[in-house]
Symmetry: C7
Subunit: 75 residues, 7 copies
């Protein structure tokens, strides 16, 4: 029970599922959450970048540095 009250547990439950990551520069990345660490460094597979709702790039695997991330939300 206690362990479900830590923020990283929410990320852990999203592992293997599609998530949306929003960055400080306003860009979004949609992909399958593969890995994260305590800095919120994050790796996604089958990732695509979206700006203003439109897919602008398909990137495959992408490593995002944690300090550029605003939020992560399961799709």
């Amino acid at each position: 029970m206690e362990s479900e009250n830590r923020p990283l547990d929410a990320l852990n439950r999203a592992r293997g599922h599609r998530v949306m990551v929003e960055l400080k520069n306003g860009k979004q990345f949609i992909g399958t959450l593969k890995a994260f660490d305590i800095h919120i460094n994050t790796v996604m597979d089958d990732a695509e970048e979206r700006i203003d709702g439109s897919t602008t790039r398909r990137l495959g695997t992408v490593f995002l540095r944690g300090d550029t991330i605003i939020l992560i939300s399961p799709e």
Copy 2:
């Protein structure tokens, strides 16, 4: 008594209740506070984003990186 004088105790009392989180980019998120840690990384359920008072997105569960947060206030 002493423990009630620490900032994270105020967040702890808000756990399970609706809170408003305001970010450095000016956006607000309203949702049920599920979890937070010492970095103020925060997880909300049933979250919606508001910009200038209007609901702009419904996000379900959202993980917010602590360093993007300005304030958290119970609704």
Copy 3:
């Protein structure tokens, strides 16, 4: 005597009193100082937001993340 020479002692003396907190985004919050920690994370009760001297919101209890704070001054 020595202890009165540390910055957090000034905050400690303000606990329970009305203070004005000014943020990096230019906003001010006036409220009763309830709690703070070494990161200057701060909790106020009966808080109101002021922009350019006008009260723009009443927030009740508010948690302010320390790294967004420029200054704290007793009213």
Copy 4:
């Protein structure tokens, strides 16, 4: 002798005297230096804010978060 070669020793010698503190947002605060710590969190008494050389506010006691400070100089 050695101890006089550390930056905080210069601040220590200014304790109890009028100093000017300049912030990253361009504002200056003039007041009596009461306390500081290794983060350069600073407390001044009888403080006034100056913008472009004009006194814009009288604040009494003010706590300034260290990371907002550019410089401190004795008057």
Copy 5:
């Protein structure tokens, strides 16, 4: 298995291969990933800079400071 769930493992698998690094200032660097550390300080060989999709400089070996990096993606 567990080790494949850490973000730096994804970078480790990209070592020796062409990657695209995107910086906070909007520039991209394409090159062969030679080295990285826990700060995401990164060294590339045969690197070229791209702005808006056009090659603007050829730099040979380049050391990129980790805190300027938004993302790293294998080509």
Copy 6:
């Protein structure tokens, strides 16, 4: 020999001599380097501020917070 290869050794050799310090806000300070620490917090004596090459203020002793400094160069 080895010790001459550390960046702070260069600052140490400049102690007692005139140096130019350039800040992130574009201002320069010229003065006698008195003290510095590992955060590059720096104290100068007989300091003057220069903007665009013109002396804009004479400050006597000035404490500069390290994180505002871009570079230090002996005159």
Copy 7:
């Protein structure tokens, strides 16, 4: 072999040679790399500043604070 896979090893091989350092404010410094540390604080000799490809200043020895650096590349 392993040691050649760490980013600072690339800087170590550049010691004593001409390098180009690019800063977050867009300026470049060209000089002989004398010293660096784990924060990427860097000292160059015979340094000159370049803006938009033109030499704008000759600085002799210059200490650059690591957090202002984007990249370092051997000439």
